[in-house]
């Protein structure tokens, strides 16, 4: 136990400053009112949906909660049910076998809600594209607010995408 406590003390605080929002990531015009976004900004809950990724994006989503990025420190946390979520974070080209599940998850998320599509596959279908097994980009299946490219996008880029989605558009 002493070792454990000592290690916590020695490790110290590693968290780095978060990125600023980036308007270039916005996929659609802003769908939510500024005052609602401000409300989200204080305590956002996210439901992650893997709709067919190679699992590379999942590695980076998991990294968001390591002490360097410490997403929860910004009041943003992942929740276990879409019914508790303000935002869906969707990865992958949408496989046809996941299409119904993704649609149902979207429907189960209460309004007002945001969707961030992650990765080259989420943005465009990526290397998997559209086929007998894949519907391609996330916006082919549900509305998308912000799309973050990358294969996979870095945790920093994902944070930036999330923060862009909940920031009011600067005109």
């Amino acid at each position: 136990m002493l070792r454990l406590l000592k290690q916590i003390a020695v490790t110290g605080i590693k968290t780095e400053p978060p990125p600023a929002a980036d308007e270039a990531l916005r996929a659609t015009g802003e769908r939510l009112r500024a005052d609602i976004l401000e409300y989200f900004g204080g305590a956002l809950t996210i439901r992650h949906v893997d709709a067919g990724s190679c699992n590379g994006c999942e590695l980076e989503i998991n990294a968001l909660n390591n002490p360097y990025y410490n997403l929860e420190g910004l009041g943003i946390k992942f929740v276990a049910s879409p019914r508790h979520a303000d935002m869906l974070l969707v990865t992958g080209p949408v496989s046809r076998n996941m299409e119904v599940a993704l649609q149902r998850t979207y429907d189960a998320t209460p309004e007002p809600k945001l969707v961030v599509a992650l990765g080259d596959c989420g943005c465009t279908g990526g290397i998997f594209g559209e086929s007998y097994a894949s519907r391609g980009r996330v916006s082919n299946v549900i509305p998308v607010d912000v799309a973050v490219p990358g294969c996979p996008p870095t945790p920093f880029a994902i944070m930036q995408g999330i923060l862009t989605a909940i920031s009011a558009k600067k005109t």
């Binding site: 590379g56 999942e58 390591n66 076998n97 290397i127 007998y132 294969c151």
Partner: protein, 512 residues
């Protein structure tokens, strides 16, 4: 040539893997599998392909000689072959997948339910056939999978997924429970099926490399190397030593990074958030160094047919060596803390146990196999250069529980750190790329690499124009998923996430 114990004429498959192939008839198909089983071998992969006339079913068997790949031609009108799940139980899901994609039938199989096909295409259409016209076929309606029902007083079902509560890949788990105790778990996978094998079939060999690197993102180095190895064999080229040594360095870094992540998550799932914070810091440091020296945090596309994309300069190698020294100290300290934490050990020990005898019977492979006494590691048994220089020590346990899978990960991290230092110390100088000759038409190549999860296989056949006719990428998760169904029996439902995480299998890699 003939191989001892196998009464067949084999042809050596050119390349870095000790691999032989033979065309067989139905009787030889079965007897070869039996012989492999009897001499302690196991099934690495089973897949189908379409030929100029008819089809073929292929099996890759790990034997004492190396990899034995047998192919049985099947008639166009009745593409049937004897199922081999009686010999290798792991074959069942592979046979079902081969039917879903190609319409080839395993005779005598007790379970013929669809596996990768849910409702995205009709049952009488087979996407991997050349003349498949359903590129944008509409869904066929309801997906009604016949789960096995458990009946009895007080038994009820918990359906979980495909969308799970954490940041993990999608799959469906059907628990039949009594009270908190799991009587039966049935998995249903295939949700991530995105047509990878069909995509391969339209690509040039060079294009296929990027796709291979995205079969399972967490094993991108292993797939990249296995794919490149298959291509280089087909081209009959030998790589400069430095390219191979750099590949080994990247593969060991992938192994260490994944093991660190898993050790953190296993601690977290057992209630020790401290473990996740500590191990995820160590992992993030590694990923950042990867980005600095190779331009990608997970080393995607670093390995290409013909060599490696990034040469690593001497000062960067020194930096990797220093990191290895620091990691060794940090992981040793964390191992002490894990080992001495009674609350953690209480959760890990005797949880999710797969006995060595069950592991041997059902063919548990890779890391999880080694935690249940199955001493298979390609780096030890069939080491490709440079592993033949290092006398790799295999990590093994007999207890087969979550604690054993944790212990094997710790041992493998230490061994990989030793290898990393050895590689840096002895790194040969020279070029990191060889020129690929033109790809031979109608050639076959095979790559077989010990990834962090287990052995990854890539088998390629080229068409008459030198493009890919068929590429099968095989993840060790195929073998190990069925064992989780056994590991959870009589455990309580809340221990499932911990047990599942201790295997950490790929969904994408098996759904293809």
């Amino acid at each position: 040539m003939m191989l001892e114990n196998y009464n067949l004429e084999f042809v050596r498959i050119p390349g870095a893997v000790a691999a032989w192939r033979a065309e067989v008839n139905a009787i030889e198909w079965i007897t070869t599998c039996r012989q492999a089983r009897e001499e302690g071998g196991h099934l690495v992969a089973l897949w189908g392909s379409e030929r100029a006339a008819g089809f073929a079913v292929h099996a890759a068997l790990a034997t004492s000689h190396g990899l034995v790949v047998i192919a049985m031609p099947l008639a166009q009108a009745r593409p049937e072959y004897p199922g081999i799940e009686e010999i290798f139980p792991a074959a069942n899901r592979m046979q079902r997948a081969a039917f879903d994609l190609l319409g080839i039938v395993a005779q005598g199989s007790g379970d013929q339910r669809s596996w990768l096909r849910h409702a995205a295409w009709p049952a009488d259409v087979f996407p991997l056939r050349r003349h498949f016209a359903g590129a944008n076929s509409a869904a066929t309606g309801a997906d009604d999978y016949a789960f096995v029902r458990v009946a009895g007083d007080g038994v009820h079902e918990i359906p979980v997924g495909p969308v799970h509560a954490g940041t993990i890949e999608p799959g469906h788990f059907r628990f039949s429970i009594i009270g908190e105790r799991v009587l039966r778990l049935e998995e249903r996978l295939g949700y991530k099926h995105k047509g990878i094998e069909k995509l391969f079939a339209a690509m040039t060999v060079a294009e296929g490399s990027r796709l291979a690197a995205r079969v399972s993102g967490d094993s991108t180095v292993a797939y990249g190397w296995a794919y490149a190895m298959a291509v280089e064999g087909m081209c009959h080229i030998a790589l400069p030593a430095r390219a191979l040594w750099l590949r080994a360095l990247l593969l060991e870094r992938e192994r260490i990074a994944n093991h660190l992540g898993d050790l953190g998550f296993i601690g977290n799932d057992a209630g020790l958030a401290f473990g996740l914070a500590q191990f995820s810091l160590l992992k993030e440091n590694m990923l950042r160094l990867n980005a600095a020296v190779c331009g990608h945090r997970y080393l995607m596309d670093a390995i290409v047919p013909g060599g490696v994309e990034c040469d690593i300069a001497q000062d960067a190698l020194a930096q990797i060596g220093e990191e290895a020294d620091e990691l060794e100290k940090a992981v040793a300290l964390l191992r002490h803390i894990y080992d001495e934490h009674p609350g953690l050990q209480d959760r890990l020990q005797d949880c999710g146990t797969v006995s060595p005898s069950l592991a041997a019977q059902l063919g548990l492979s890779g890391l999880a196999g080694r935690a249940s006494g199955q001493a298979h590691d390609l780096r030890v048994q069939f080491p490709p250069e440079p592993y033949d220089r290092f006398d790799v020590r295999i990590a093994k346990s007999q207890s087969g529980d979550v604690a054993a899978r944790v212990a094997v990960r710790f041992e493998e991290v230490f061994e990989s750190l030793r290898l990393v230092r050895k590689i840096i110390e002895l790194m040969p100088l020279g070029s990191v790329r060889a020129t690929l000759s033109a790809i031979a038409p109608n050639a076959a190549g095979i790559g077989w690499i010990e990834g962090w999860r287990g052995s990854v296989l890539v088998a390629i056949e080229t068409a008459a124009d030198g493009r890919i006719a068929r590429c099968h990428a095989h993840d060790p998760s195929w073998q190990n998923w069925p064992l989780i169904e056994h590991a959870v029996i009589n455990n309580i439902v809340p221990d499932f996430p911990l047990i599942n995480k201790s295997f950490n299998l790929s969904y994408s890699g098996q759904d293809l």
